[in-house]
């Protein structure tokens, strides 16, 4: 018997439901608590999620569930490459979040704009560098000066 992706999804959902139940059980009981309790709704949701997971497995066994948008029908190698590209962008965004307090908002944003554009297929050129730099500066002027938002300027600024 081979397991389909929906089988794995159903099983994964059941594991998630169990983990969520366990986390709900850790919620402290307050003296102000009502009859339902702070853990009441989460536990109900955990049960509902587990039931849905089980139903998905059963439904998949009885009749394969049609896939979502048809994207999964792509060649596995293409799919893997697509996922890797997406993972690269996630890494870039994560790097932005890490570097934001260190480099400061204008510089980090300029790097994000330039980096994502290059990653998306734009050619590294003086024009691109200028667009990224102007973008970082323009966004900073808008948010920091016009809206008055406190944005980090980086640890390197005096």
């Amino acid at each position: 018997m081979t397991l389909s992706r929906d089988d794995f999804l159903g099983l994964g959902v059941m594991v998630l439901a169990a983990a969520y139940w366990a986390a709900a059980a850790q919620i402290p009981v307050s003296l102000l608590s009502d009859a339902v309790g702070a853990d009441g709704a989460p536990k109900m949701l955990a049960i509902a999620l587990a039931v849905c997971g089980a139903l998905l497995v059963v439904a998949t066994r009885l009749k394969p569930v049609p896939a979502g948008d048809g994207e999964d029908e792509a060649d596995p190698a293409v799919r893997r490459r697509t996922n890797l590209r997406a993972a690269g962008l996630v890494a870039g965004l994560g790097a932005y979040a890490v570097l934001l307090p260190i480099l400061g908002y204008p510089l980090a944003l300029a790097l994000l704009i330039g980096g994502v554009a290059v990653y998306g297929g734009a050619r590294l050129s003086p024009t691109l560098v200028a667009i990224a730099a102007i973008g970082g500066l323009a966004f900073w002027l808008f948010f920091a000066k016009f809206l008055g938002v406190m944005l980090p300027l980086g640890t390197w600024m005096p």
């Binding site: 992706r5 929906d6 959902v13 969520y20 986390a23 919620i27 009981v29 307050s30 102000l32 608590s33 009502d34 009859a35 339902v36 702070a38 009441g40 709704a41 989460p42 949701l45 509902a48 999620l49 849905c52 997971g53 998905l56 439904a59 569930v65 049609p66 896939a67 979502g68 948008d69 999964d72 697509t82 996922n83 590209r85 997406a86 690269g88 962008l89 965004l93 932005y96 979040a97 934001l100 908002y105 944003l109 994000l112 704009i113 330039g114 980096g115 994502v116 554009a117 290059v118 998306g120 297929g121 734009a122 667009i131 990224a132 973008g135 966004f139 948010f143 809206l147 008055g148 944005l151």
Partner: protein, 496 residues
């Protein structure tokens, strides 16, 4: 007659008209920025109104609300990023239309549907405040809980091809809503000790992650789109023929928007999703929904904009702010020494009627501003894809960070983007999750408050007539959706 003359003199005599224009422009900008909610856009202007004439000040704040609720639909249609919670339903068909090169048409429909909704709501606000305000008072905790459940009943029709996956998505959304401080006892839940999560996860962050970041993750590895023709980059207002097709969805949007606006806490999100669902049910072309239906844009946009006016009815009549935006407007009233409630209409009728005039002007100005800015907006999203993705992400990360200056929000949006990407791959619809995240707190907090009031007796939900009516509507809606979405097509397939 008093109302009309006060409104006209307020518009012509002072700073009301420029205030309305400034408010609309600021509101559209604030609404279009993901993460910056209408209430935040209003709150940013609040200190500026201190020295202004009360009518102009309140008009400016209300105009921001009108502009922001409309502005949220612009990124929803163009870049699959709802600028406000209420614009999430517009994303479904608006973005599909944009992908088909019909962004100008979608934006034109959303603009005019919003205008119709705004005017309809304003007429109700002007002539029926007193009788309709009674509806707001009929809402007790059981009714609020039932209202939330009615909103959740739309999940079945948002589930796409698999009802089970739709339910899983909805439950995951409800789980997201349980993060933060418990609404009754005050203990923290699922925060992992992080103070940033004590206030819960804001639904707009879930939406920005699930829609915008997920879309960019998908787009980054697909080939660049063809250059849009000049026809595709122009705003296109609905023709008479199109109006004839849209009237039904507009009536649905107006009706549901009126009801939801009157119920404090109901808000534009429930109105938009319910209207979308009903428009689909009553449409002659239900098969187009989800694939680029013009009615799927008109109904939620109309409902959403009706709410901006009708939500003011409980606020002006009883001083009950039904939403964050109404609370900021209430603060504006208090800042000028005006106390909303029954006496407001006796003590400061000129301000109230001037506000009505200002809102009327704001709706017209919304259309005029829209006519000016929308074509450049469409042009902008047709720029080379690598730059577009880079700037969309720049807007997203900046808007998200700007609201609370919180890195946690950034990480949260990124995580939701990855979750959304995974859900796409697994064929799990994301809209039920959004609905769960939006309505979870409303349902749970009012469910538990009801039980506290009834000393644990669940019959309170059927003893309260409003609650009973809403629950019956939810059951009927769910049953109909399950039947029409799953049982009917299965039978048809079997008989074929």
């Amino acid at each position: 007659m008093d109302i009309l003359s006060s409104a006209v003199s307020a518009l012509l005599g002072g700073w009301t008209l420029p205030a309305a224009l400034a408010g609309v422009v600021w509101g559209i900008l604030g609404g279009a920025l993901p993460g910056l909610s209408p209430s935040v856009a209003m709150a940013l202007l609040l200190p500026l109104t201190y020295g202004m004439d009360p009518t102009a000040a309140l008009t400016m704040l209300a105009a921001v609300y009108v502009g922001a609720e409309y502005g949220g639909s612009i990124p929803a249609i163009l870049i699959r990023t709802p600028g406000t919670n209420a614009a999430a339903a517009t994303t479904i068909d608006g973005y599909e239309l944009a992908r088909q090169g019909r962004a100008g048409e979608a934006l034109g429909i959303s603009l005019m549907a919003g205008f119709v909704g705004g005017l309809f709501g304003l007429i109700l606000l002007t002539i029926a405040t007193e009788p309709m305000a009674a509806v707001a008072l009929a809402f007790t905790p059981p009714a609020y809980c039932a209202l939330g459940i009615l909103g959740l009943s739309v999940i079945a029709s948002l589930s796409g091809k698999s009802l089970i996956k739709g339910l899983i998505s909805g439950i995951l959304g409800l789980m997201i809503a349980t993060v933060g401080t418990d609404p009754v006892s005050g203990v923290s839940r699922f925060t992992g000790g992080s103070p940033d999560l004590l206030g819960g996860i804001r639904p707009i962050l879930v939406m920005v992650g699930l829609f915008a970041v997920t879309e960019m993750l998908s787009q980054i590895s697909t080939p660049a789109w063809d250059k849009a023709s000049s026809r595709d980059t122009r705003l296109k207002l609905p023709s008479f023929k199109m109006w004839k097709r849209l009237w039904k969805s507009q009536v649905i949007g107006c009706t549901i928007g009126t009801f939801e606006g009157l119920t404090p806490g109901g808000g534009g999100s429930i109105a938009a999703f319910l209207s979308y669902n009903e428009a689909r049910r009553w449409s002659s072309h239900p098969e187009e929904f989800g694939k680029g239906s013009i009615e799927g844009v008109a109904a939620p946009e109309c409902a959403n904009n009706v709410v901006t006016a009708t939500a003011l009815i409980p606020m002006l009549s009883f001083g009950i702010p039904g939403s964050n935006s109404a609370a900021v407007l209430l603060a504006g009233f208090l800042l000028h020494g005006l106390i909303p409630g029954p006496m407001l209409f006796q003590k400061a009728p000129d301000v109230v009627y001037g506000l009505y005039g200002g809102l009327f002007a704001a709706n017209i100005l919304m259309v005029l501003v829209g006519l000016v800015i929308l074509t450049p907006c469409i042009w902008l999203v047709n720029r080379p894809k690598p730059y577009l993705i880079a700037f969309i992400l720049a807007i997203v990360v900046s808007g998200v960070y700007a609201t609370d200056a919180s890195l946690s929000d950034l990480w949260l949006v990124l995580i939701m983007g990855v979750v959304g990407y995974g859900m796409r791959w697994l064929g799990i619809p994301t809209l039920p999750m959004v609905l769960g995240a939006v309505l979870g707190f409303l349902v749970e907090s009012n469910y538990r408050r009801s039980l506290v009031l009834a000393r644990g007796d669940h019959s309170i939900f059927i003893q309260d007539p409003v609650s009973l009516g809403l629950l019956l509507a939810a059951v009927a809606l769910t049953a109909y959706s399950v039947w029409s979405e799953f049982i009917k097509p299965a039978r048809k397939l079997k008989n074929a």
